[in-house]
């Protein structure tokens, strides 16, 4: 009799253990599906020389509340990605290292910079032949002088990737790839900012000329081959246009090509920006 009771108890434990295992397995399978991600900022302070400029950073509500929502039902790896804190942290880190950040009403203000997200795209390993998560971010930085007149528009593009790995969730991989893309944007700004004509003019004590609202934006981009060598004007002359990069494959765009299927918008905008740096 006791043996029968023991065996029933044992069977009960065995079934409960099995049920738990099945629930755990189901949860693991479900967790591999679409996820909502909040990117944690991880951008170090740039090791750059501080310029004697006072800058006010302007973050619009659209920028501060930006969340990428995936509406394509076929793309199941991501539901939404919120990198508001990470991108604000990146811009703050970069510009506080490069310049002195001041309030909007500060009389010593030289420039105000307002970042705006133009595009955000991603690819998951299931969508490409590469075993990695990739992120593309495109920003426009609107620069206005102390009188609030528009003096420049810069377009900056960042690319980040993270390889797939054992026990690595899609969430942590997207988080990491977004941080790499933001680091890329920050790196371009940190290196290129002092070389821009507007900045040079301000540093020389002059006033940068204002531009009309309809003028096309400049691109602040970086190719690893010309990052530190040439002065900015030579780089303008040497930088290939988007059409050329497809042929000679020598620039950052060619090295990190946007997705052909998903990136039509990026390509079109790049062709507009002929004044590449």
């Amino acid at each position: 009799m006791l043996d029968k009771i023991d065996s029933r108890r044992w069977m009960g434990r065995w079934n409960s253990c099995h049920n738990r295992l099945l629930v755990l397995l189901s949860l693991t399978l479900v967790s591999g599906c679409a996820s909502s991600i909040v990117v944690k900022p991880n951008i170090p302070s740039p090791l750059v020389e501080k310029l004697p400029l006072n800058i006010n950073m302007v973050y619009s509500d659209t920028f501060s509340n930006y969340v990428y929502l995936e509406n394509e039902k076929k793309r199941g790896s991501l539901k939404s990605i919120d990198f508001t804190d990470a991108q604000t942290s990146m811009f703050q880190q970069v510009f506080s290292s490069l310049t002195n950040l001041v309030e909007a009403t500060a009389p010593s203000k030289n420039l105000s910079i307002e970042p705006e997200i133009l595009d955000f795209q991603y690819s998951a390993p299931s969508e490409t032949k590469l075993k990695q998560y990739e992120i593309w971010i495109k920003y426009r930085l609107k620069l206005r002088d102390k009188n609030d007149a528009r003096v420049a528009d810069w377009v900056v593009k960042g690319y980040g990737k993270t390889p797939t790995g054992m026990l690595r969730s899609a969430s942590s991989a997207f988080n990491s790839a977004t941080n790499v893309a933001l680091r890329d944007v920050g790196a371009q700004l940190s290196i290129r900012f002092p070389r821009q004509r507007v900045v040079k003019t301000l540093l020389d004590g002059g006033s940068p000329p204002t531009i009309a609202e309809s003028e096309p934006e400049e691109s602040v981009e970086v190719a690893s081959s010309d990052i530190v060598a040439e002065p900015i004007d030579e780089q303008v002359a040497q930088a290939p246009t988007f059409e050329q990069t497809e042929v000679d494959g020598s620039s950052a765009e060619a090295e990190n090509p946007p997705l052909e299927t998903a990136d039509k918008g990026l390509a079109e905008t790049e062709q507009e920006g002929k004044d590449d740096i």
């Binding site: 750059v48 890329d184 790196a187 690893s224 530190v228």
Partner: protein
Amino acid sequence: MISRLKFLVVGTLLIILSACTTINVDHVRLKETAALEEGDAMVVLGRHQTAEIQTEASLVSCIGGRLAKGTGDVRIIPEAEFVDAFYPWFEARTAPLHPKKLRKVLNQPAVADKIKGLNIRYFVWVEGSTERTNSAGSMTCSIGPGGGGCFGFGTWEDTSDYETTIWDLDTFSEVGRVSTEAVGTSYMPAFVIPLPLLAQVEGDACQGMGNQLVRFFSKDASSLKTIP
């Protein structure tokens, strides 16, 4: 006693049946001596400049570890720590691709001071990856309330192709190059329980390259220190 015997038998079987890797290591020495002095530091960095080039952080760390063990007097600065400390100069797309470009990065006073402070003498760049080049077989696994199990046989081949380049900061020149190609085949027979017999291709490539780099930096270049 019986359990120990079982453990020994299983262990011996695993060793006998374990997968094999073939490695080729070539090295080019562009300078007669690659002197290292006590207190010198070295940094081992992976290349990630394009979407296709994604040198594994684990391999870079492994090579750094082997160099640290093999060249006792040298301090190896971890990749992540170095890249963060020198942000934005050694990011995937901003890292210099040639020693002359590195000289230009070091024209930045803040960067030069930090390099000097850390006493960094050599940069070791690692480029390449390990990829699955072939696979065959099939395996079926099922699970139900009564239990679960797998049945089948799978095999796959991984190929590692890496090249390390050594830059000397005293002369801003490339002083050596070590390239490695490793090919390994793994097997996974499954009869209820899958039994993976894995070829450690990346690990073996690291061992081959690490040993060669240690030899490169040793005072007596003919004596190869083998790290177990």
